[in-house]
Symmetry: C2
Subunit: 476 residues, 2 copies
């Protein structure tokens, strides 16, 4: 019989803290009847965020098109959405039940190209767009395709969304971590990037790409225009492809911040020599349609021989799920002024974004006031990456440890903290070590997705818990 | 800028003929206004097969649950399905919009375990079931996890469904082909298996698993009970894990044939020492819900340390799309006698299966009557793997070629044939070389999914085309 020892080393090495042991423990506690506040994952509709009505109305018609022939059914839907469902089925008569073209339904790829063109004022082509089962699958394809051998690696942020480290592990690639600059609201830093890439090269690693998440996960940072220009110049200088994870592009709360896409900034710089892979998704923004697993990968500045390899990769997977494709279509072409469904769409969209902003403020201000905790108000995305202080353990000298031992020791300390937080308060967050952090610092990632009263409760419970936890450590 | 030379060798090596150049050419011709009969892919609803109404009715309610509060809406649905949608949302209040647990929604995994237990009279556990985005993703996970190094390989049938060779290429594994026995209706043959594994070992390859597709793709063969027992004994003897691709389990047309699952046969043999990975899907059978990308992987006879690695792999992907999960649930728990929706379900199911059987017969009998073509009536699945004769080219001595040169030469001949068939008749089939075939033989795979009149047309056109093509070759 198969044993663990027979399995791929790459698979065994991969780690994904967002759904790791602490979440499993939370599910056990919940099964025992405990009320858990799930702040571990950006899963808005599991935390009572309502779906946008127009999306679901159109999907219900697409799943059961016979409704379109029933006058009594049509009274239940806004007229423009009935027409929208009809148009979709005219353009794609196979509906939700057939495999589509490998890269996705052509008119949807066109609509995405229009969306990019409208958003950024640049040109975009449907032939460079591949619909995917969520953004994760796009990242998987790029990393899989660009790793040519065991010394190849991607630069990934620290802290990072662990999809990237996990996928690099799965395909035997090297992780080249670069620290985000906590002092500068988690922007990227040219000097840190340079030190990181030089260190990797000195260690015999060949960097092939850089992953940038903007707005940031887990940091909530929105990168400045100048920061993105710097990254493009850096990628150009070092012959790196860029993976731009832009799934939180609609989630910007800080009034002085604005989302700039890498595609737009590169266009403005007239930069056509840096290959760019951009990810987007229906799971975040104001849709939060995580369960539908829809998204796309846009590829720029690659020769056709590279593009066709991505098309082939997608063809092995047959195609992204078609309901997710339709959801993506509806995301990039929402109701317009004058449509019957428009006022409700606007009210729902603005309600969700305003609520997220308010909760980001409550979280940021509340936590920052706790003694021994630091958090700026998240500028964007759905997370706060909270820094907290722990007193040193008596008799333990971290400075005498090897870096790896120290990392393990500190990872255990922040995991123990998060586990104790869960057991005592029912709050489920992810330890900072799951994303990466500077030695000697401790963090956890929490979403601000639960309803506002739970965020307020979370802040209050955190304060009580943290004070007690630190006191007990000091008393040991 | 990135070039093709920078890409992973594994990715460049991967091939997937089902959506290869001939299909691309067909799409070009179609864009020019030609009518194409797409027989290249098992995509029933693209070929006018209607979805089962009960599935789409429930999905439309799940996408837009507000309908459940509208008495005027409920008149449009059978009562049992309204109740079913309510029950689903009671058990899973997050509906279609949230990520589920990594391995899938618990009650759905339970329903699948019940389905297996009912079908096979054996016990099954929800904890060994992982919901996937179609069966392809399950195969991907198993192959990825079981390949420990570059000398590891899987035994795969020749002819095979090219997902397996493509996935092995992607993860740098070795393909150990074993011929299916065309003389015995494409069953597996003990002696051929033994020669194949011994040859691989002699070549320094370490076989770790065997892929079996039953009912067969592209062969349409339904494996006998004794054949499956033989395979289990073979796997046991050689310490191989089994991947049992059973997605066509409902598609059995030959009256003396019956589907036996590997799980059932192994249970009956009291065999608990062979690790078994079984794949199923909503894309085939009588549902044909390819676009929904639903399916599951069932894992038997592995220690918990192995199982948890598969759970982790799935967690990196977050979860299978939730609509596909619900579709899978509805597949394994269809309407029951007494339900308002039952008569229609039975009529639709039986209509689809009877039509497929009829079309398999028309295809099998019609093609077998063509001079220079051979096809038994497909026993199951959705395909005929048609053998055809081509006259030798003058001045070409295949016996003087290396095996690799001969394979390339013969692959070009059957590709040329299929391309000419497409250009002349609009019929799109896949060359046998895309699946693998014995040297000196030529085949193509065709589905029998198009409407009956198109199958009749296909047989007639094939005859005319083949006679002309052979005549022209002989005249050269």
């Amino acid at each position: 019989m198969l044993t663990r020892d027979n399995l791929s080393r790459n698979v065994l090495r991969a780690e994904y803290a967002v759904r790791g042991p602490i979440v499993q423990r939370a599910q056990e506690l919940e099964a025992q009847g405990r009320k858990i506040i799930y702040c571990n994952i950006g899963n808005p509709q599991a935390l009572k965020q309502k779906p946008l009505t127009y999306i679901r109305q159109v999907l219900s018609l697409l799943e059961y098109p016979e409704l379109l022939d029933r006058p009594d059914a049509l009274k239940l839907y806004p007229k423009d959405l009935v027409q929208r469902a009809r148009d979709i089925l005219d353009r794609h008569p196979h509906g939700t039940g057939a495999y589509s073209q490998s890269t996705g339904i052509p008119f949807i790829r066109e609509a995405i190209a229009d969306f990019i063109a409208r958003r950024d004022g640049i040109s975009a082509s449907k032939d460079q767009i591949i619909l995917t089962d969520g953004a994760s699958k796009g990242a998987d394809a790029v990393i899989k395709a660009l790793l040519k051998g065991p010394i190849d690696g991607f630069m990934i942020p620290i802290p990072q969304y662990p999809l990237y480290s996990a996928t690099l592990s799965l395909y035997g690639g090297q992780q080249i971590g670069y620290y985000l600059d906590e002092q500068s609201s988690w922007q990227l830093n040219d000097q840190i990037l340079t030190e990181s890439i030089e260190g990797a090269r000195a260690a015999g690693i060949r960097p092939v790409g850089i992953v940038v998440i903007n707005p940031g996960n887990p940091t909530g940072a929105v990168l400045s225009h100048e920061n993105i220009r710097m990254i493009v110049r850096f990628a150009k200088l070092h012959h790196l492809s860029i993976i731009a994870d832009e799934v939180y592009q609609e989630n910007v709360y800080e009034k002085n911040a604005r989302f700039y896409s890498f595609a737009a900034v590169m266009h403005e710089m007239d930069e056509t020599g840096v290959s760019l892979f951009t990810l987007h998704s229906v799971s975040k923004g104001y849709l939060g349609e995580c369960g539908h697993r829809g998204g796309y990968l846009e590829i720029r500045n690659v020769p056709s021989g590279v593009l066709e390899q991505f098309v082939k990769l997608q063809s092995i997977n047959l195609c992204a799920n078609v309901v997710g494709q339709f959801t993506t279509y509806l995301m990039v072409s929402p109701p317009q002024p004058g449509d019957e469904s428009y006022p409700k769409f606007v009210a729902e969209r603005d309600g969700i974004l305003a609520s997220l902003k308010r909760k980001a403020e409550i979280l940021g201000e509340g936590i920052d006031r706790i003694d021994g905790m630091t958090l700026e108000m998240p500028q964007g995305a759905m997370y706060g990456f909270v820094r907290f202080e722990l007193p040193p353990e008596k008799g333990v000298e971290v400075s005498e440890m090897t870096p790896a031992d120290r990392r393990r020791y500190e990872a255990k300390r922040d995991s123990d903290y998060c586990l104790a937080l869960l057991e005592e308060t029912g709050i489920c967050v992810v330890p900072g070590s799951g994303f990466g952090q500077q030695p000697g610092t401790f963090h956890f990632r929490t979403t601000f997705l639960p309803p506002q009263e739970e965020i307020e409760l979370l802040v209050a419970r955190l304060k009580t818990f943290h004070e007690k936890y630190v006191r007990e450590l000091e008393e040991v």
